[in-house]
Symmetry: C2
Subunit: 219 residues, 2 copies
């Protein structure tokens, strides 16, 4: 009991504070105060502040990415001989992580943290995230190509990145978004948020490619 408890207390406090203020603005003393544990426990259990961050991220992100891949595989097998639907691919990507917001334990902290992490340029963290996301990148890239066979690779990649930005912004600022748009943050609204994001990004993926951007590729 108490053995696992200190560690979890630290992880939870760190998750909340990193999400609120960012990695660099939160000290270990902030975390241990919030967690009501001793400062040296952080080094005992995690070794360093950086490692703590990685653990905070990976403890929830790994299962999420696993679920993403499972949902995608399911969508593929459901499609069978038909073409893989873009909306199914997008849902597989968004649903697991947005569902994490409904977790009463983590609530919005974790997803806010993930949204922030996407924008963080700390080299150590980028390396770590790339490692966490490699398989997701590979599999979803292939899935997007399959769902959008007529879209050129370069355009597909750019649109994937725009989509990632839209998703990260939504994850990171969902409380601001709901306040600004006067919608509620309950469970059913979560499905609505996801649907809204799917509508927007699917619309973006399917948008006609302007002549300018296509022509310029050949120069």
């Amino acid at each position: 009991m108490p053995k696992a408890d200190t560690k979890t207390k630290i992880l939870d406090a760190a998750e909340m504070l990193f999400a609120q203020k960012g990695f660099d603005a939160v000290s270990l003393r902030n975390i241990v105060e919030s967690a009501k544990v001793n400062l040296a426990a952080v080094h005992y259990h995690f070794g360093s502040k950086q490692t703590l961050l990685h653990k905070v991220v990976s403890r929830r992100f790994r299962p999420i990415n696993k679920e993403r891949l499972a949902m995608l595989a399911n969508a593929k097998s459901n499609a069978g001989k038909h073409k893989l639907k873009l909306e199914a691919v997008l849902e597989s990507l968004f649903l697991p992580i947005f569902r994490a917001q409904a977790n009463p334990k983590a609530g919005k902290s974790f997803t806010r943290l993930i949204g922030r992490v996407v924008f963080d340029r700390n080299a150590e963290l980028q390396k770590f995230m790339l490692n966490e996301l490699t398989e997701v990148f590979v599999e979803f890239s292939k899935a997007f190509e399959e769902a959008l066979p007529d879209l050129e690779k370069t355009d597909l990649d750019w649109r994937s990145h725009f989509m990632a930005g839209a998703m990260a912004h939504t994850l990171c600022n969902s409380d601001l978004l709901t306040r600004f748009t006067q919608t509620n943050a309950n469970d059913s609204e979560l499905e609505t948020t996801i649907q809204r994001l799917i509508d927007f990004t699917a619309g973006g993926f399917r948008a006609k490619v302007s002549k300018t951007s296509k022509t310029n590729k050949n120069t």
Copy 2:
């Protein structure tokens, strides 16, 4: 000459470093070392680190926002009695800030910084940014409504935020994006980037609203 130079040196160094590593991870000593000025000069010229950040942002962001508003006004007067085109609104919003990337002095630092700032949850900074962006919000909101008269206000707001995420991600990570997509970062590619972003976001704004998201609004 030397009178303005120290101040500008500090601003330039801060811009670059804040963009690279974020506000909290960069110390004043990092900045003055890079700028080759004395530590106390920061307080003499700017008063505090926080104020320095605001000045770094506002010195370029204000003219950009001014230009955005001017371009929008121009687009409106060009439209005359016709409906304002969504693409014109988007271009007015994106072009001035993406053009800042072509500035050899600021290059990518400033836009990367703005991209990061959108995601920063520091209360002081959010207040400051809201102040800088109020007029842009108001005018562009109206313009989007005009360009998309059939889109419900709530859906419009959500899509505006998705668009903001896509834009911020692009601003923040443009070097990663160009490397990942194997495109070049020269001037003509800038126009291409903007066009790609317009294509995607316009596609998103015009996407059909799913039944689910609409129905749920009434519960």
